[in-house]
């Protein structure tokens, strides 16, 4: 099986008030197609930072990140944007939906930004809405949904353009345990049925059990 995303010697430093602090120190990760990887570690250990670097939302101080063998550092804005629409689906802790768009529109956003017609995605939309169980809420706005429902919309949005890789930053960190379990079940199904590669950040052992590999971070290093 090929590698979907690979990080080589990633170093990330932040400079705050002239003090340089190294958050990630020579990290090497390689996630293969179909894997469901959980990044774990204490709060402040750099889990989110690593995930964002892998997704190209931030740039490493040094090191390389290869998405399907392509170095994302040399991409321009246009290419990176296309990568975010087509190759990666993001899910954040605070759902991060667009408040003035309804459920359908939020889900279809990557498609719309890709300049494709929403009409051609009706089937996919139906299927995904079915998977996340929000068929009845298509026309609702994010305000009218519960936290769990909003997170489902965010997951549906991450799926719409059939990306190879889904990155999730504490997707259930803000939800009650029952809803959290449901969401994790959903991720598991997406991983096994839709064959999507998933990397999640979590500090819950339970959530990590849904995955098949754990990357443990401590003091900026993989242990």
């Amino acid at each position: 099986m090929g590698s979907v995303i690979e990080g080589k010697n990633i170093i990330k430093e932040f400079t705050l008030a002239d003090i340089v602090s190294r958050i990630l120190d020579q990290i090497n990760v390689d996630v293969l197609e179909g894997e469901f990887v959980s990044i774990m570690g204490p709060s402040g250990s750099g889990k989110s930072t690593l995930l964002y670097l892998l997704g190209g939302l931030d740039k490493p101080t040094s090191g390389e990140i290869l998405l399907k063998g392509k170095n994302i550092a040399i991409m321009n804005d246009e290419e990176k944007s296309i990568m975010r629409r087509r190759d990666i689906g993001f899910v954040f802790q605070f759902y991060n939906l667009i408040p003035n768009l309804n459920v359908e529109e939020n889900i279809l956003l990557p498609v719309l930004l890709d300049g494709k017609s929403a009409k051609n995605f009706e089937e996919e939309l139906d299927e995904i809405l079915h998977i996340v169980g929000l068929n009845e809420r298509r026309k609702h706005t994010p305000r009218e949904l519960s936290g769990g429902q909003q997170q489902r919309v965010a997951i549906a949005r991450a799926l719409i353009n059939s990306p190879d890789l889904i990155l999730a930053d504490e997707p259930i960190g803000n939800l009650d345990s029952k809803t959290g379990t449901e969401i994790m079940e959903l991720f598991k199904r997406i991983n096994t049925e839709k064959k999507k590669t998933i990397i999640q950040v979590t500090h819950s052992q339970e959530a990590a059990r849904y995955g098949n590999r754990v990357i443990q971070l401590k003091d900026g290093r993989v242990i």
Binding site: F90, L112, G115, R157
Partner: protein, 831 residues
């Protein structure tokens, strides 16, 4: 704990410097304009009063022959001794022309009265004088400034022409340029012995005016009343010499247009402060929640916020009023400078106005902030903690329905009220239209975006659709559209009105074939005046006009002005034109043969009438049917009728004006003025009138345009502020868009589409508002001055669209650049 809140607020103000600046700017500028508008008529009246006082001195009552009196002079001895009267002095005044040798002759006001009495009530200081003890014969006292200007000195002789007879006066005194000699902007002032002037004017010792000084402390109104009854049989008018209250109220119309725009500026300030405080409260909700949850009372939290708005008001008043004084000084300077022979208008500052304007500043700031503050502090704790500031959809909808209903009422009402009420109702409805339009912009926006979605989809693809969705329901954008609409409509209104007036003045003089128009304010405008006029040198043919304002009896609508003409000579005086009629004369003759009228197209379309129809015109008693026999295309008036019918039907004893032909218009005007003597009159050449009118309107509209520009500036700052707020509020959303793959180019496109669209919509709403306002104005004008065809200028409307787009685009530059630079993680990571 309160200190912590206070600290928080101060920090909040510091962090939002631009917004605080905007609130202050709005209050300061609106207070300044409000103050200046209020003070302008007072300054005029103060100047006039000062000028009059310089003539009257301590005398406070004037007696002079009235309209029924055949004689122009009365004896001062008709005023009998009266315990409350201290001094009585007869006065004669006449103009004397001094040939200066240059183009412009100088006019002297020759003033004559008992010099000893004059010294008591209105003393003047002689800088130089000859030895002669008595002031008699052909002696004259001039001011030192006159002496300087014409290089005259003691003992010099000066030749003055009074009523076309030359007299030589010897200068025996030179007075300091103050008091009587203090206001020489229009005429030079000179004192001559009473006996001498009496001889020249042949008054046999009588006077054209009698000045009376009442004993100090007496009630002037009562003295006047008793004098009136005592002197009834002498056919005289008894008036207060200087009635400043009267003068001010007469002049108060000057301030109306300025006041109107100041009120618009105030409305805009209220709008800006209200919306700013809405945002401020939304930002502070978390801390309010925190403090409320640990026990701060609702009232205390509210009071702290209200004090903040009060502080804005106080600062606004303190800075705004001095600025207002500066603006007023500027306005008066412009007015004075533009008519060099006119008066220098002094700055008049009333304490009342200062206090009033200060209260307006504080009041506007306080009450605009009050509603959002109250709303936030009244919220149930739960909503505060969850940051819910918005009302639920249902309550909002109900309110919008009410607002739309009020708006429609305001548009319709001026059309259905009787014409006597059109002016106050119309003015009110213009204000209501503006306020309500601002309120219903969100609804209009919803409707418009709904319609635009499809169009934008096909025009700009998915990005267009996303842009429209960004606009829909966005408070900041609807506020911007409101601000744009208000600024643009005020600008358009002033510009269109200015263009209309200029066109009107130009049109009115086109086709006129006479050189001079004259009317008397004091004498009866009748046959005898006409005959006297004919004897004045330089006067050629003359023609009289009647003028009345007409109303359609059936609809109650006002029809404009009817001009009563004499068909026999009308074509010599005006190039009257009738649509599709080459030879107008037979048609004009018909005006005398029956109740026939020629009517302007605008009147016909207003009343839905056509040629051949008969209309019942309301008269002082009853009504009479008039038949429409043609469409008037020249600019004499709205309606032409035969003078004989206007005179009898409308019971007119006086002409409205007399038109005069002359080969030497300038000289003839002088001669006519001399014929009137002391009687107030308006006499001017047509050319002069057009120039003066254009000048006057030019100044008026120049200042109004300046006011409108101030409004626009506040509006632009408000728009920029909103765009910045919009960006800050949407940072997370933008980061979100970027995280799902919106590229910089796409972000730019969407922001530009948003900006252009809101600019265009601002232009559209602005133009709509303007048209609604002008429709009401049209009604007001028809009822008051006659039909004024408003010049809806297409280029101006296009400019409005362009301006709207340019303003929003400029305001979008900063958010655009910050949006480009926005780091996704910065915006997402930290809540």
């Amino acid at each position: 704990m309160m200190q912590i809140i206070l600290k928080f607020i101060i920090k909040n103000i510091q962090e939002n410097k631009f917004r605080s600046f905007l609130i202050l700017l709005a209050i300061i500028l609106s207070t300044a304009l409000f103050f200046a508008s209020n003070a302008v008529s007072y300054s005029f009246s103060k100047t006039i009063v000062a000028q009059m006082k310089s003539t009257y001195g301590e005398t406070d009552i004037v007696v002079k022959p009235n309209k029924d009196n055949k004689a122009s002079y009365i004896s001062e001895y008709i005023v009998k001794n009266h315990p409350e009267i201290g001094l009585v002095m007869g006065v004669n005044q006449v103009n004397g022309i001094y040939e200066t040798g240059s183009d412009e002759d100088e006019t002297f006001t020759l003033f004559a009265t008992d010099i000893d009495k004059l010294k008591k009530v209105n003393p003047f200081e002689l800088i130089e004088k000859t030895d002669s003890e008595v002031f008699s014969g052909y002696e004259i006292i001039i001011s030192s400034s006159t002496a300087e200007k014409y290089h005259l000195g003691l003992g010099d002789k000066i030749k003055l022409s009074v009523k076309n007879v030359n007299y030589k006066f010897k200068i025996t005194g030179i007075a300091a340029p103050s008091m009587l000699f203090g206001s020489e902007q229009q005429n030079r002032f000179a004192l001559v012995p009473k006996k001498t002037l009496d001889n020249i004017l042949n008054t046999s010792g009588r006077s054209s005016q009698v000045y009376i000084k009442s004993i100090s402390g007496s009630n002037i109104k009562e003295v006047i009343a008793s004098l009136k009854s005592e002197l009834k049989r002498y056919k005289v008018d008894v008036d207060e010499a200087v009635n400043s209250a009267d003068i001010e109220s007469q002049l108060s119309t000057i301030k109306i247009p300025f006041m109107a725009i100041s009120i618009l500026v105030l409305i805009m300030s209220i709008f800006i402060i209200y919306t700013s405080f809405k945002v401020i409260m939304a930002e502070r909700l978390p801390i309010i929640g925190t403090f409320r949850s640990i026990g701060a009372t609702e009232k205390k939290t509210r009071n702290i916020m209200l004090n903040e708005s009060l502080a804005y008001g106080v600062i606004g008043g303190c800075v705004g009023i001095p600025l207002g004084i500066a603006i007023l000084a500027g306005m008066l300077g412009v007015i004075s400078a533009s008519n060099p022979r006119g008066m220098d208008i002094e700055l008049g500052i009333q304490m009342g106005n200062v206090i009033y304007s200060f209260m307006v500043a504080v009041g506007v700031s306080f009450f605009s902030a009050y509603i959002p503050i109250k709303k936030a502090s009244k919220l149930p704790l739960k909503d505060v903690i969850f940051g819910k500031l918005e009302e639920d959809g249902y309550g909002k909808k109900k309110k919008y329905k009410l607002k739309v209903a009020i708006l429609i009422c305001a548009i319709v009402i001026p059309y259905i009220v009787p014409s006597s009420l059109v002016i106050p109702v119309g003015v009110l409805s213009i204000l209501v239209i503006i306020i309500m339009l601002l309120q219903v912009v969100p609804v209009l926006l919803r409707v418009v975006t709904f319609m635009l979605e499809g169009i934008y989809g096909s025009l700009f693809g998915n990005q267009g659709v996303l842009a429209i969705k960004e606009i829909k329901g966005n408070d900041n954008i609807s506020q911007n559209i409101g601000l744009l609409a208000l600024s643009i409509s005020t600008m358009l209104f002033v510009y269109i009105l200015s263009g209309t007036m200029e066109g009107l003045i130009t049109n009115a003089s086109q086709g006129a074939k006479y050189e001079i128009a004259t009317m008397s304010m004091e004498q009866e405008m009748n046959k005898s005046l006409l005959n006297r006029l004919k004897t004045v040198s330089g006067v050629g043919k003359v023609s009289l006009l009647y003028k009345v304002v007409a109303k359609d009896k059936d609809s109650g609508q006002s029809m404009g002005a009817i001009i009563g003409i004499n068909a026999n000579d009308e074509l010599d005086f005006y190039d009257t034109r009738v649509r599709d009629v080459a030879d107008v004369k037979p048609l004009l003759d018909k005006l005398h043969e029956g109740r026939n009228i020629l009517v302007k197209e605008a009147v016909l379309s207003k009343l839905n009438l056509k040629v051949g129809d008969t209309i019942n015109i309301e008269l002082p008693k009853g009504y009479k049917p008039y038949k429409i026999i043609g469409i008037l295309t020249s600019a004499t008036g709205d309606i032409l009728a035969g003078y004989n019918y206007v005179k009898t039907d409308f019971k007119q004893t006086d002409y409205a004006s007399i038109r005069v032909k002359s080969d030497t218009p300038d000289e003839t005007v002088k001669a006519i003025k001399e014929m009137y003597g002391d009687n107030r009159n308006f006499t001017a050449t047509l050319k002069e009138t057009v120039v003066t009118m254009k000048n006057m309107f030019g100044i008026l509209f120049g200042i109004l345009k300046g006011f409108a520009a101030v409004l626009l500036v506040i509006g632009i700052f408000g728009i920029i502020n909103n765009l910045v707020i919009d960006f800050l509020q949407r940072r997370r959303v933008i980061a979100m868009y970027k995280s799902v793959g919106m590229s910089k180019a796409q972000l730019t496109n969407i922001m530009i589409i948003k900006a252009v669209t809101s600019g265009l919509l601002g232009g559209l709403f602005g133009i709509t508002t303007t048209i609604l306002e002008l429709k009401v104005l049209d009604k007001i004008m028809t009822a008051s001055v006659g039909i004024v065809p408003i010049d809806y200028s297409i280029p101006l409307f296009i400019t409005a669209f362009v301006a709207g787009v340019v303003i929003t685009l400029i305001g979008t530059i900063a958010p655009l650049m910050r949006g480009q630079k926005l780091q996704i993680i910065e915006a997402i990571k930290y809540e």
